[in-house]
Every structure is written in C-alpha cells, then in structure tokens.
Amino acid sequence: MKAAPFAYMHPESLEQALEALTQHGADAKLIAGGQSLVPMMAIRLTRPACLVDVNRLPELRGITAAGPQHLRTGATTRQRDLQEHLELARLVPLIGAALHWVGHVQTRNRGTVGGSLVHADPAAELPLAALLLNARIHLRSQAMGERTVQASDFFISPMFTATGETECVTAIEWPVWDGPGIACAFEETATRQGDFAIAAAACQLQLDAAGICRRAAVGLGGMAGTPLAFPDLAGKLVGQRVTRAPARDIAEVAVRRTDPGSDLHADPEYRRHLAAVLLTRVLLRAAATAAPALVA
C-alpha cells in the first residue's frame, strides 16, 4: 500500500524542526531513518499530516566522547555507522553486540539509534542495550528546553516512551564501563536473523583477576511491553563466580517476572523457556570472554 498524503518539511536547523513540532503538535511526526515509520505509514497504521525530516541536521549526528564515563551518539547516527566505529566497539561493546541482530545491511544503512529507541518496539535490540546500561536520553523542545531521561524511565509501553509530543531525541549518552575484565553478550531467537526477536537476552559483566564478578547488568527483550532489566538479580552475581548454577538461577527468577505475549510464533510458556535458556547462555558466554582462563 501507499502512505496517505502528507506535507513534507526539511528544516535546516534543530530550532526549525522544534518550531515545526510546536506548531503542528500531534499532526507532525519526525522522520529519521524511517525504517519503522515508513512501513507503518505504508500499511496505514499511522498517517501523520506532516513529516519533519531531521536527516540533514549535522547537530543530531555523530559519535563523540562525553566525559570519561560516557560515549555520546547523536540521535540520527546510522546503525551502520555505529557498527563500523572502532572506538565505540571498544568503549560500549554492547551496542555492536546488539546491532549484530538488528535488521539487515539495507535497513542499518538508514535506521538510526535514536529512531530505534523512540520507536520502542518491545522486542527491539537497541532499546534493550540502552536499558541494560541505563543510557541517558537527551530530549529537546521549545516548551521544555533540554532535558535528559534515564533509559529506566524512558520506555513506558509498546511504542510509547517519555518523549513528549513536541520533543525531539537529540542524543544518547552510553555509560562506559571502566577497567579490565569487561565483556558482554547478546543473543536472540527470531524466525530469520534480522527480524524482531521472539525472545532476546543480554548482559554485561566485569570479572576480577580471580574470576569473581564485580559488576553485572542483565536484561531481556520481547518478554513484556518494554525491554526489562534486572538490577537486583544482577547484584546477586556480584561477589561470586558466574558458573552455570547461579546463571541458571538468575535466569529462572528473571523469566518469572516477565509478561510475554502470545502470537503465531510462540506462546508465553515457550517464550519464558527460551528466555531462560538465552539468559543463561549470555551470562556464561560473557563470563568466558571476560576471564577465559578461569571459567571451567
């Protein structure tokens, strides 16, 4: 199908884009990569009266250091550019691990990091990565100016975030874990690679020289209306070795807190089983990567 008619605006500055949002409110929609929005328009799930194209605003693009503890990705930085950025791969490896599962070359060439977060598909990979690390999302509007929202407060329900009607996501600041012994892992099951996950699991760990876990973050995607992180369960790993038994225990508790949907591909019970297997697997894989000699 074809999209319903709309007016197209291509502002030359962020200020102009925010002005358009202020003026047109709910009638206007920002477009960046368009890899979720355009299909939704094509099947008439949405029919914005006005598209405000932010693809050509240089202030929304790029990957830069934001102090020693954070890496900043402009909202319209393409997923392909994130994937090919060596410094990003070193400082926030979870982004690359997540992007391995995101779409295809042809969609990553257009799809953006901010677009993926603000679209907020509960099974999407970048929102899970952002939540796991509790990234900081920068928003701007004429009414409220600049504000930041932690990822833990950002995802509200499927395709619904803390972003206001007249706000634009401008950048995402990703926490950089510092020191040796850090590794992450991301795994999912989908009907074909690149499709949305039936279930996804991710973790990031820091192990000391003796193989003891010093810092951990774990999460699941596709298992509720938003991605899920489990800081309390991750905390239980701290101070012990990440072997099969504790990994399995944490996975079993985590999946009992999920509320997965049912569709053609899988029922809730199967999704929970899958998520427990995947979460156990990512914990063991990250531990093996962080301290390869220490994991039996």
């Binding site: 199908m1 074809k2 999209a3 319903a4 008619p5 709309f6 007016a7 197209y8 605006m9 291509h10 358009a20 003026q23 047109h24 009638d27 206007a28 477009i31 368009g34 890899q35 355009v38 299909p39 328009m41 094509a42 099947i43 009266a49 006005c50 598209l51 194209d53 693809n55 392909r80 779409g103 295809h104 070359v105 042809q106 969609t107 060439n109 257009r110 074909r192 690679q193 690149g194």
Partner: protein, 171 residues
C-alpha cells in the same frame, strides 16, 4: 490528485534533483511518492521491483550515495540531491552484463526473477566491499532479500563464481 492536508503550511508537491545511474533528473513529486515508485513510474526505470512495500522483501533495493537501501522505505523527496544506482546501472554498457549478472545466468541464480534486482544490488555491494566473501558473508549480505524460487543456494553459488572470476559472458 489528492492534496496534502491543510494543517501544515507546506507545499503539497516538491521539486527534487536526483542523479540516477549517472544522469541528473529534475522532477516534481508528491511527498508520499516512495523512491522506488519515483524510479519506476516517474523515470520509467522498471528494473527495481516493488514487492512488499513495507521493508521486508528487499526487491526494491538500490544504492543510495553508494550504500544499499530499500527504496520503498525512503520518499523521493528525501533523496533530493542524492545519487541513486539501480540494477540498470550495474552493467558497464547498455546491452551488456556485469560479471555478477553473468554469474547469475551461469549459476541459475534466478527463476521468476522478481527478487533479482534486489539480490544483484545486495551482492554487487558485497563484492565491492569484500571481493572474496565466504559463504557466511554472502548469506549475511542477502539476508534482507527474500527469494521464493531458488532456495538461495544458486545465488550463493553465483556470487562465489563472480568472486572467483570464472564467468562466461552471457550479456
């Protein structure tokens, strides 16, 4: 023709300048015209195919400023000032085939041909970046393109054949 909604004060049509296969085209388009519809209906370049029209099948793939993208998920107005290569632009001369296109003939990498323009764009981009891809890299490169005839194996074979430079000339 349906006019754009009255609310925003933006024109219902826009003028674009898009370079396609090396030739610059100035046209007036409705904002909702996708790039693939622009190529096919406005410029008459029917090589790019319209399959799913919602970012799933890859039949509409083109190179946009050198990178493969799906032309059903970009509006032509967004490609203003940009450069597009379609399947028609892959051959060195009119009436000839590229080595990759010859390899598709050689390996029977198409049956109905509907996915072929997207497959050729995906594989052309792969070989441009990685002249000697292994099977995994080939399957990754065509992961966004659906084929309902070949089972994909002959397409993988064709890319390997083209990479090895052992292709008879069919074009």
């Amino acid at each position: 023709m349906t006019q754009g909604p009255a609310t925003p004060a933006a024109p219902a049509h826009a003028t674009v300048a898009i370079t396609v296969n090396g030739r610059l085209h100035h046209r007036t388009v409705e904002p909702r015209t996708t790039l693939v519809d622009f190529l096919r209906e406005t410029l008459g370049l029917t090589g790019s195919h319209v399959g799913c029209e919602h970012d799933v099948c890859g039949a509409c793939a083109v190179l946009l400023d050198g990178d493969p993208v799906r032309a059903c998920c970009i509006f032509a107005v967004q490609a203003d000032g940009m450069s597009v290569t379609t399947v028609e632009g892959l051959a060195p001369e009119r009436g000839e085939f590229s080595a990759l296109q010859d390899a598709f003939c050689e390996a029977h990498a198409l049956q109905c041909g509907y996915c072929t323009p997207g497959m050729l764009i995906a594989c052309h981009d792969l070989l441009a970046r990685n002249p000697n891809p292994d099977e995994e890299a080939i399957r990754e490169a065509i992961g966004g393109n659906l084929c309902r005839c070949t089972g994909y194996q002959q397409i993988v074979d064709a890319v390997e054949l083209a990479a090895a430079g052992k292709v008879a000339v069919h074009g």
